[in-house]
């Protein structure tokens, strides 16, 4: 239980951190366009 629970939690959140890092790179914040 300890191994599966703690390991599963950290693995899941690690995968999520990788995916979110990737999303951050795929959709970076664009600087606001200056109005003409």
């Amino acid at each position: 239980m300890l191994i599966c629970g703690m390991g599963g939690t950290i693995l899941t959140l690690w995968i999520m951190s990788l995916v979110m890092g990737l999303l951050g790179k795929l959709f970076p914040e664009k600087p606001a366009k200056k109005e003409a």
């Binding site: 629970g5 939690t9 999520m16 951190s17 990788l18 979110m20 999303l23 951050g24 959709f27």
Partner: protein, 382 residues
């Protein structure tokens, strides 16, 4: 005629007689007053402690039928707690209120949010070692999520007879985070570590990323740990509504009206489960003690993970931020900021701690989901 009057008056004194017969009801009425005092005078989680305290008094008045089969609180309980609806509706509100931007700016802080949940599993083992049945141990361990709705969801599903003790422990310790955490943070870190100044988080997060976050987390988390999908799905639905910006009426309703009504009903129901005969037991004291242990272990594991990250980054991380990996949002982050400032006036840890804290919010839900899915995999729950 005289007999009828005596019998009639007797009916008015039965309650007093019952009060004398079972002292536990009197004690619980006093407990109700203490909860009301803490909520009203000490401002400790008043939104919950006031209805919990009043519900406790209502249920412990002798001959009270508020929790009988036709009782009005029983009707609310059956509609919202037995069906697990209330904690889920609260989660929609939490999702609508929470800005996950800080954790998206530094996704590595998700790991602090994971470590901040290890107390759940360690306490579960401790409860099993103390002889609690498996499902009771699961409910006790979940206090370590430091997250009221998660604790209520899991307990009402698997150990409803412990709902009062687990909920009171979860909410009480959450409000005691500023007292519980600092000594542990100091004990586990060196002066040099506590004085570390971290670079400000400058990375902006795009709206697209913020909108993709709830969708990706729901799908990924749901596939990995489907047992926790209701928890994950509702918090992420609330967050998607917030970040999309197109359903502001629903977002506002979720974080205000719906959350307020449900909080009132939830508090009343929890208080009404605290009936003297069921609550005053050595077991309740053990549960309260284990809850405290769970939150201490969360803090220990979070700070230790902070130390690991410090080593991995060559000393750039202040391990104090690990203490914010629990779900008490944003209280734990504020505690970290205050503690960091105490040791170094130039240290501003708030945004880093907010990242860990937001990670802890997701972490607590994921940890509960993982735990339930692992238990289902082991055949302990269905």
């Amino acid at each position: 005629m005289a007999d009828a009057i005596i019998n009639g008056l007797g009916g008015l004194t039965v309650g007093f007689q019952m009060l004398a017969v079972d002292w536990r009801n009197t004690v619980m009425i006093l407990v109700g007053f203490v909860l009301l005092y803490l909520g009203i005078k000490k401002d400790c989680e008043p939104l919950l402690l006031v209805p919990i305290g009043f519900g406790c008094i209502l249920a412990n008045i002798p001959l009270s039928d508020v929790m009988s089969q036709e009782g009005f609180i029983r009707a609310i309980y059956d509609a919202g707690i037995t069906t697990e609806l209330f904690p889920l509706l609260i989660f929609v509100g939490i999702g609508a209120m929470t800005d996950f931007g800080p954790v998206l700016a530094q996704p590595s802080t998700f790991l602090l949010g994971a470590a901040g949940q290890f107390g759940i599993f360690l306490t579960l083992l401790l409860a099993l070692a103390l002889g609690f049945p498996q499902l009771d141990a699961v409910a006790i361990g979940i206090i370590g999520a430091c997250d009221g709705p998660t604790a209520i969801y899991v307990t009402s599903k698997y150990a409803p007879h412990l709902l009062g003790a687990v909920s009171v422990a979860a909410y009480s310790y959450m409000s005691l985070v500023p007292i519980i955490q600092p000594p542990i943070m100091r004990l586990l870190t060196t002066k040099k570590e506590r004085e570390t100044v971290m670079k400000p988080v400058a990375k902006p997060v795009s709206k697209t990323t913020k909108m993709m976050f709830p969708l990706v987390i729901t799908i990924l988390g749901g596939i990995i740990a489907p047992k926790g999908l209701p928890l994950l799905g509702t918090i992420m639905l609330g967050n998607l509504m917030r970040e999309s910006g197109v359903v502001s009426r629903l977002t506002k309703a979720s974080e205000n009206e719906i959350a307020n009504v449900v909080t009132l009903f939830l508090g009343l129901c929890i208080g009404a489960t605290m009936v003297g005969s069921a609550f005053i037991k050595a077991q309740t004291l053990i549960i309260l003690a284990l809850g405290l242990v769970a939150i201490c272990l969360d803090t220990v594991c979070g700070v230790l993970m902070g130390k690991v990250m410090r080593v991995a980054t060559g000393g750039k991380v202040n391990p104090l931020i690990g203490a914010a990996g629990i779900s008490a949002f944003p209280m734990a982050a504020r505690v970290v900021q205050r503690e960091g400032q105490k040791w170094n006036k130039k240290s501003y840890l708030l945004m880093h701690a907010m990242g860990a804290n937001a990670g802890g919010q997701v972490g607590s839900v994921i940890a509960a989901a993982v735990m339930l899915s692992v238990l289902a995999g082991m055949g302990i729950i269905r």
